[in-house]
Each structure stands twice: as structure tokens, then as C-alpha cells.
Amino acid sequence: MPTTKRSANHLQRIVAQSTELLQELVSHLRQNRTQLREEWANRITEAQLLTAMTKEELFAEATSVYDNYVETLATGTFEALQSYSRNLSERIIPRGVETHEVVGIVLLLRDVLARSLFAKYQGDFTMLNRILDAYEPAANRIANTVAVGFVQERERVIRQQQEAIRELSTPVLQVRERLLILPIIGVIDPQRARQLTEQLLRGIRTNRAKVVVIDITGVAAMDATVANHLVQTVEASRLLGATVIVTGLSPEIAQTIVTIGVDLGKMNTVGDLQGGIEQAERLLGYKVVPVADAASS
């Protein structure tokens, strides 16, 4: 639908008015900064939010949030707020601050500022409406930006923690000199597969391993991507001078590997872990002595 010249001008006027109104709003917020900030800090305490912080810390954070809030209203751009929000989240997440607290305090600030607008413009209903029309969308977008920034940072921290747990739970074991065992258990997604590969390669270098036994008895199923990672792990290990023996290969997984075009004959596979370790020891030049003989000597 074409915009006529008249309605284009009309739109322009509304935008210009909105900007004017926002500027008036911003100066009101700046002029009353001290008491509005204090009112907000009190309401935060009343609502029992940010209990992990001391009064001084709370006040300091409240000050910087307030100033960023007003600045965002003044400039109309949100990049600075996004960075600030990420920054703030990085600081407070380790302190144990939770999502509902962050959302809560931002909404309280929005309310405190809205109330002060009611108080100022209560004599002029038309003006009040116009100012709220300008304020509300901006305030809501601010609340959204801060909350989303916080949640994303939390998600990032959680991912990092999961990664750390994964690393701890997939040990690369050195059972003998020059021999490493990597038992893989459970579900492997491509990310974990890649992490395993990196850990194994580093382990080969650190332990100067010549043989690696990768045991996948505990792996129920593997899709083509992960099977490919396994093959890549074998190839990369060879580049570091290590021979890889894969044990516990189920018929299904063997089929998957063949399907992705790898010649299973080229891969060194043994039925079970015990057999794999024995072959590894043979490759390393250890004599394999039956337990009974060893006990009697």
C-alpha cells in the first residue's frame, strides 16, 4: 500500500515527537537520578532479590544499571546495552545470581520509573499518555535485552561446565609404558567425539604412546558422523607414530564404518578389550605370560 506524502509526513512527525518525548523523559530521569535510584534499591531489597550481594555492591550495580538504562533510552541504540549486559552477567553469575533475580530487578526499575512519570504528569492526562507511549516500548526492549543477555551468558557457562565434566569422565588411561587405553562409554555426539580425539592425541604426545587401544564395547550405536570421527582419530594417531587397535566393535558399528567407505580390513580390530591389550603388548614386545606360570616364578 503506497504511503501518500501526507501520511509519510505524519509518520515522520510521530517519530520526531516520540524522540522529543524520550529526550524529555531522559532529562527527567537524569534530574531525579539520586532518589529514583534509591527507591529502586529499596524495592530490590524489599523483594529480597540479589541477596548474594552486600548493600554496597548492590548500590554500585544499581547505579551502573540505572545509568546504562537511561543512556539506552537517550541514544535509542542497544549495542552498548548488550555489551554491558554480557559484562554484568559475567560478573554476577559466579556470585550465584539467578535469572529470576535479574529479570526481577529490571522490571522493578521499569516500574519505579513509570511511577515517577505518573507522579510528574498526573495533571496532564494527554501528556502522560504520550510519554508512556514513548517510554513503554523502549523500557520493554531494555528488559528483554538484559534478560536475554543474562540467559545467554548462563547457557555459555553451563556449556563450559558440561565440557569440563565430559573431559573428566573420559580418561585416557596409561596402563603400561607406551600403551594407552581409551574406553568409550555411552552416547557420543560429534562434539564429544572431537573432544576425545583431541584428548587422545595430546595423551599420545605426553605419554609417548606407541599403541592405543580404543574400546567401544560400551557404545551402543554410532552414526556416520561419529564413525567418521573414529576413523579420523585412528588416522591422526598414526601421524603421531601410534598404532591404534579398536576393540568391542559391534556388527552394527562395523557396518556403519563400511558404509562410509572405509576399508575395515585396514583398521586394526580385535573382538574384546582383553584381546586388544594382549595384542598391544605383543606389538610393544612384551611377553604375554599366563597367570599361573607368573605366580610360580
Binding site: 536475554v148 543477555g149 556449556r159 583431541e198 556416520a224 567418521n228 588416522e235 562410509i260 567407505g261 572405509v262
Partner: protein, 135 residues
């Protein structure tokens, strides 16, 4: 820490390949990529720059840090005005088995990165754009 600026490396000879990948590695590191990812990025740049030298004789590799509300990353654009590629699907065709390092190596480059896009027209040149994000 501010995201690093644009870097443009003119590619004319094999010496420029080394320069491009060194710049790529150092930009990747300053963006925050770990050693493994920085190596993947440097290797991808090396292959793309090598293609320029081999097939187009000259071109350029541009690299730039990027930042969105979700993450930070690096974007690399390798472009030349060379003979172009007649059939893009053919050069991107790839089984999981190794290629032995022959040909354009584009499927390999695609595997190394998170995002890969290629535009090419015979006689008009080729532009490859690749991206990798911090996890």
C-alpha cells in the same frame, strides 16, 4: 577486548600463502580461539590461498573478526578473478574417504569450518567465504 580489525593479504606467490595463514592464526588467537581451532583456521586459509596461486595466479584473502549478540568468530573471504569453476557441485563432492590432497581441497576446507559458501563463474573468478565461531 575489542575484536581485531580487517586484514587483507594480497596473494601472488607461495610466500603469500604463508603470510596469509600466519595472519589468520594470529587473528584467530586474539579473537579467543584455542590452539586447535586456530590451526584449523590457518590450515583452511592455507588451502584457499593455495588455490588462488595455483588456479588464478593472483587474488586476495580478507579476514575479519565478527561479533553478534550470540558469539564471536572469524570470517575469511578468498577471492580471485581467475578462470572460475565450471561445476561447483563437482568440486564439492566428497565421500568420507580421503582425497590424498589432490584437487581444490574444498570439501576438506568445508569440514574444517562452521560455515562455507562459494560463488564462481567461468572466466569471472571465484569467491569463497568461510566462518568459524567460538564455542
Amino acid at each position: 577486548m575489542p575484536v581485531p580489525q580487517d586484514i587483507l593479504v594480497s596473494i601472488r606467490s607461495d610466500v603469500d600463502i604463508v603470510l596469509a595463514r600466519q595472519q589468520g592464526r594470529s587473528m584467530a588467537t586474539s579473537i579467543g580461539f584455542a590452539a586447535t581451532d586456530a590451526t584449523l583456521i590457518a590450515t583452511a586459509i592455507s588451502e584457499l590461498a593455495r588455490n588462488i596461486v595455483t588456479y588464478a595466479q593472483q587474488g586476495e584473502v580478507a579476514m575479519r573478526g565478527v561479533e553478534t549478540s550470540h558469539s564471536k568468530g572469524i570470517v575469511i573471504v578468498a577471492r580471485d578473478n581467475g578462470p572460475g569453476i565450471r561445476s561447483i557441485p563437482d568440486v564439492l563432492r566428497d565421500g568420507y574417504s580421503t582425497s590424498g590432497g589432490l584437487g581444490l581441497g574444498l570439501p576438506g576446507v568445508k569440514r574444517l569450518m562452521d560455515e562455507f559458501a562459494i560463488e564462481s563463474e567461468p572466466r569471472r573468478g571465484t569467491t569463497v567465504t568461510i566462518r568459524k565461531w567460538l564455542k
